[in-house]
């Protein structure tokens, strides 16, 4: 089952910002009635597709406030918005009225939705103002909300069954093998959990996997095509051996790059682990990467040449000439990437990085920090939302957009078990460019405190984090997009904290479960679904009980 991650971003009427904040607080208060046995039960029952949701207002001296609704739910957006509308129509409409009328084509829809006593459906307007994430990650991919809650109930039931009501009488689960424990437990729980008799629904379907891989390959193809444009443009105009001139220039660029590769004094951070460089990969992965690179290049040449050939042949060229020209153009285009375009881009980037300003001491609002600290660390999960300014420039924009897109696609293919490197504390996280890519939003629903969460990133996944967040103005000094950067731990945390806002409303459908615990529950449930297990499988399964 596929989950959707999105944010709705609305510009707020500045004079109504305080009223909107109060509406959000009231919304939260309505879900936390004093003296109730369980909080958030209304939203849990009426919007069963929802995993996590947050509502925040971000203020910035250079922009009007924005109201962001971040939602992580099962299935496509249509049914989700329908459920939200059915449950909270009046409240959502009141919040929308505090927002500005959009200047673009959605103006009439806004009018229709916010008219007094309007019954116009909200869902189309929310879908219009949705921002799709550039990079997103999910910890428990493919598990629907109801399945997570059911498997949690199952886990608690296994505990009760294994403990036995009388703790001093001999326990029937002791003194037997793991396979026998499995059989006994299954027999005891099948009555209360009849869904154990059914096979586990696939978490990620083959179609989804093929789609993810296909998108990644398509992205690589487009990148190669774009990078080879300079070479392809020149190829028909000059003989191939003139490209040696380009090679000389490229060699010069590489020498210059080598001179500038080190960090400026005081800005380098040597790390042994947690990075995203080729050196860190295992030998097996390096081989795979090498083979994949060669395969992609070969595929690119074949596909691009075929397209070129067909195009030329249709316009009247002979088969032989069309094939030669197409192959020459595409081949030289690829060669030009290696000898010129790629080194030039990297050198340009490095020169920019060396003169990037990084903010050593972002202004701290102690009251805001106190407000945030007050709402954090009540349950094992926490939420963070942050908005930062994006570094300007053509190269920056191209690299960041492409880098984000690529990172998102790679994560979709590679991080299917929820692990980012060696950390698995993220339930749902995403980045999205807003305000015409002048700002970058980040939202994350994660386990434990924000300090330990950022420490996790700094220690175990700083390469990927630097790639995704290095586009922010004031980010600690980075090199080659993935080095250093977030490894400047203290500076990075200060910068990140300063970009955060108070998460006014935040909902989690399973407040006491961490990502690891959800996976554990699923392993136990999958084991109990099977009628028999071999002794080896049963021993592994019983370790999770």
């Amino acid at each position: 089952m596929r989950q959707t991650i999105l944010s709705v971003v609305l510009d707020v009427e500045p004079q109504s910002a305080k009223l909107l904040a109060q509406f959000i607080e009231d919304f939260k208060a309505a879900q936390e009635p004093p003296g109730a046995k369980e909080w958030y039960s209304e939203i849990k029952e009426r919007v069963p597709l929802l995993h996590f949701m947050s509502m925040s207002v971000f203020e910035n001296p250079a922009f009007d406030p924005i109201f962001v609704v971040e939602a992580n739910f099962d299935g496509p957006p249509g049914p989700f918005w329908a459920q939200m509308e059915a449950a909270f129509d009046v409240k959502l409409r009141a919040m929308l009225r505090c927002c500005k009328r959009p200047e673009d084509g959605d103006g009439p829809m806004y009018d229709a939705v916010t008219k007094r006593c309007s019954r116009y459906p909200l869902a189309p307007y929310f879908e219009e103002r949705t921002f799709r994430p550039s990079v997103f990650h999910q910890g428990n991919r493919g598990l629907g909300r109801d399945r997570i809650l059911n498997e949690r109930e199952l886990f608690l039931a296994t505990r009760r069954a294994l403990a036995q009501p009388i703790p001093t009488a001999p326990n029937p689960y002791r003194g037997i093998t793991a396979g026998q424990i499995h059989q006994k437990l299954r027999a005891e729980l099948l009555a209360k959990f009849p869904w154990l008799a059914m096979e586990a629904p696939a978490r990620i379907s083959w179609l989804e996997r093929a789609d993810d891989l296909g998108r990644l390959l398509g992205f690589v193809f487009v990148v190669l095509l774009c990078l080879s444009i300079p070479g392809m443009a020149l190829a028909p105009l000059m003989p191939a051996h003139w490209f040696l001139v380009g090679a000389l220039v490229g060699a010069g660029i590489v020498v210059r790059l080598w001179q500038k590769r080190a960090a400026l004094p005081g800005e380098g951070v040597r790390t042994r682990s947690g990075g995203l460089t080729i050196a860190r990969m295992s030998a097996g992965n390096k081989v795979i990467l090498g083979v994949a690179l060669v395969a992609v290049l070969v595929l690119h040449v074949i596909i691009a040449s075929s397209i070129g050939f067909v195009g030329l042949w249709i316009t009247g060229w002979t088969v032989h000439d069309a094939a030669c020209l197409a192959a020459k153009v595409v081949g030289l285009g690829v060669v030009s990437i290696v000898i010129f375009t790629a080194p030039a881009v990297v050198l340009w980037l490095r020169l920019l990085e060396r003169s990037d300003p990084s903010q050593d001491a972002p202004p701290i609002d102690e009251h805001l920090l106190g407000e945030m600290a007050r709402r954090e660390d009540w349950i094992p999960q926490n939420h963070m939302g942050s908005v930062i300014l994006v570094k300007p420039g053509i190269l920056r924009m191209a690299l960041f957009r492409a880098g984000h897109h690529g990172l998102g696609l790679v994560l979709r293919v590679v991080a299917t078990d929820g692990y980012l490197g060696s950390m698995r504390t993220v339930h749902f996280a995403h980045w999205a460019f807003v305000n015409n890519a002048s700002r970058l939003m980040f939202f994350s629903n994660f386990d434990l405190s924000w300090e330990s969460y950022l420490d996790d990133f700094i220690e175990k996944a700083h390469g990927g984090l630097t790639l995704a967040w290095g586009s922010g103005v004031g980010f600690p000094p980075a090199r080659f997009l993935v080095l250093d950067g977030a490894s400047h731990g203290r500076k990075f945390k200060a910068w990140a904290r300063h970009s955060m806002a108070v998460s006014r409303f935040w909902y989690s459908a399973y407040r006491d479960l961490t990502v690891d615990q959800i996976e554990r529950n699923t392993r136990i449930a999958d084991g109990l679904r099977k009628q028999t297990l071999s002794e080896q499988e049963a021993a592994t399964w019983a370790r999770d009980l």
Partner: protein, 559 residues
């Protein structure tokens, strides 16, 4: 050592050869004369000690009511109890650290006070911090704190000067008045902690009396005092805490992490210290002003550099390491976390005995489950300090000490030797946290070493006569640890590992020793055991202190 069985030392046998302890690390000049001795040594040669909690008893307002020179008491104190440095063994030792309120009372100016790190400035008993440390939620002290709340702290005032007014909004709505931060106070206020170490209890007591006499004319009182005695177990040459377990066996080992120019600050046998593969931490994790794990000099407090020549205050503080216009007050100092932990020995052993009997009744095949067996699993080491592992216990390491150079992934990934939630495994998970990714061993180990603390605590209170009897005597551990970044080191360990109910894929259990009552899982084949544990340790007071370098102390005494 080759003849030793895999189950470790034979109990009761004296070691076959004299134990050659691995050489310990030292600081090189000039840092050794500037740093307090407690950084490099726990003063194991000085078995008797006392902790004196001092309070400066003069009001903040009006200024005339206090002494003319607020730091004068420090001068008098250091004459009677000269603070030890790190350049070698002495026949008696003293160490001093200050709370934020103590520094304020001693006349440190507001700009310098504002330059300390946030946890120190806010104090341990700030409302949200108490929730993260597991001591208090909203208005209620938790079960891990003694009844009626802790007795002492720095009583750091809450800085919340905005008036909590309600605000009117359109539509008849109002923004309700913001609830001001709760001010948590304790009956005793502590401004400084003085630790005195000597060869026996009488000498320490005489020394403490001298100190009290010297401080009395300056209106500085000793509001709380704890006798700290090592009570070395001479047979095994090991220091035990009150439950009976050998303690202090695993410490971080500092090395120089700076690029060039800084080699040789930490030395072993005169040579620059190598990076220990299992426990190596950059020196800046422990001492302020040196390179830390984030490749920068660990930030410390600063003092304005007003070089007014008519000001005759002694100035050993250096501008190196501080921005232009400031002096480096924190260089070679550190932050100290102190918590007075009361241990209930009788309750501990009685509860484990009951659990053992219950388990044996519940599972007749479990004849090996005794109170000792359970206690070893709770702690993660045997009573003598050997590490648990699936084969039994790890064989001893160099110097005949319990082996400390190991990780968990290699042979104990699933916590079936040393349980996942045991105290030592929670306090330092080493490489054991992502058990699904054994290839990430180095990453996990480096990540865990980012959060190490240097422990210097000692136990207080009389030894229990019968470990199964709760005799009502106050005894426990004065937990003292040094770290340069309180939030990333001590608070991280406490919140993310020790008291985390979801640590290492456990579900609803915290540390069995330090945490509140609950469950404890012991991994076994084929099926785990779950033990009910009670609250065995309660906190009676605590605070964050600043341990100044000796030049910084001289500066404070000149205020």
């Amino acid at each position: 050592m080759g003849a030793r069985s895999v189950t470790g030392r034979t109990p009761g046998q004296p070691s076959a050869q004299p134990s050659k302890q691995p050489a310990s690390w030292q600081l090189a000049p000039p840092h050794d004369k500037q740093t307090q001795g407690i950084v490099v040594s726990g003063f194991g040669d000085l078995p008797s000690a006392q902790a004196l909690f001092l309070m400066c008893d003069w009001p903040d307002e009006p200024a005339a009511a206090g002494p003319a020179r607020k730091g004068a008491w420090l001068q008098a104190l250091t004459m009677v109890a000269p603070i030890t440095d790190s350049d070698g063994k002495d026949d008696r030792a003293a160490s001093i650290a200050f709370t934020w309120t103590g520094l304020k009372k001693s006349g440190l100016d507001p700009n310098a006070l504002a330059s300390f790190s946030a946890p120190f400035r806010e104090g341990m008993y700030q409302e949200d911090r108490l929730r993260r440390l597991g001591d208090r939620i909203k208005d209620k002290w938790q079960g891990t704190v003694i009844k009626d709340g802790p007795q002492w702290s720095g009583n750091t005032p809450v800085k919340d000067d905005r008036p909590p007014v309600a605000m009117r909004l359109p539509g008849g709505k109002t923004v309700p008045a913001r609830r001001p931060q709760r001010q948590v106070t304790t009956p005793l206020t502590v401004h400084a902690l003085l630790l005195l170490y000597h060869q026996d209890a009488d000498k320490v007591q005489d020394w403490a009396n001298e100190v009290a006499a010297a401080l009395a004319p300056h209106n500085v009182k000793i509001v709380h005092r704890l006798p700290l005695d090592l009570h070395l177990d001479k047979a095994k040459n090991v220091a035990r805490e009150h439950f009976g377990f050998a303690d202090g066996l695993s410490q971080p080992i500092p090395f120089d992490a700076g690029d060039g120019g800084e080699e040789g600050t930490v030395v072993v046998d005169g040579k620059p210290a190598p990076r220990d593969p299992w426990h190596g931490v950059p020196l800046g994790e422990i001492l302020l002003g040196h390179t830390n794990a984030h490749a920068e000099k660990s930030p410390g407090p600063l003092v304005l550099n007003d070089t007014d020549p008519s000001d005759r205050r002694e100035r050993d503080l250096k501008p190196e390491g501080a921005p232009e216009g400031f002096l480096n007050l924190g260089l070679n100092g550190s932050y100290v976390v102190v918590r007075e932990l009361r241990q209930y020995v009788g309750k501990f052993w009685k509860s484990l005995e009951d659990n053992a009997q219950r388990i044996r009744a519940h599972d007749p095949t479990a004849t090996y489950v005794t109170a000792d067996w359970l206690a070893e699993r709770l702690v993660g080491r045997s009573l003598d300090g050997d590490m648990l592992c699936p084969a039994g216990m790890r064989p001893a390491g160099p110097g005949n000490l319990p082996d400390n150079a190991f990780g968990y992934i290699a042979d104990d990934r699933y916590g079936q030797g040393c349980p996942m939630g045991s105290h030592v495994r929670r306090a330092d998970p080493r490489d054991g946290l992502a058990k699904d990714h054994p290839a990430a061993t180095q990453t996990l180990l480096d990540a865990a070493n980012n959060h190490r603390i240097l422990r210097r605590g000692r136990k207080f209170g009389a030894l229990p006569k019968d470990r199964y009897e709760e005799d009502g005597e106050e005894r426990g551990l004065l937990f003292i640890c040094l770290n340069a970044d309180i939030a990333r080191q001590f608070e991280f360990v406490q919140q993310t590992w020790i008291l985390n109910p979801n640590f290492a894929t456990l579900y609803d259990e915290t540390d069995p020793l330090v945490g509140p009552e609950g469950r404890f899982t012991i991994g076994e084949q084929p099926l785990r055991r779950i033990v009910e544990v009670e609250t065995f340790i309660q906190s009676a007071g605590g605070e964050y202190f600043f341990l100044p370098s000796l030049p910084a102390l001289k500066y404070l005494a000149s205020l």
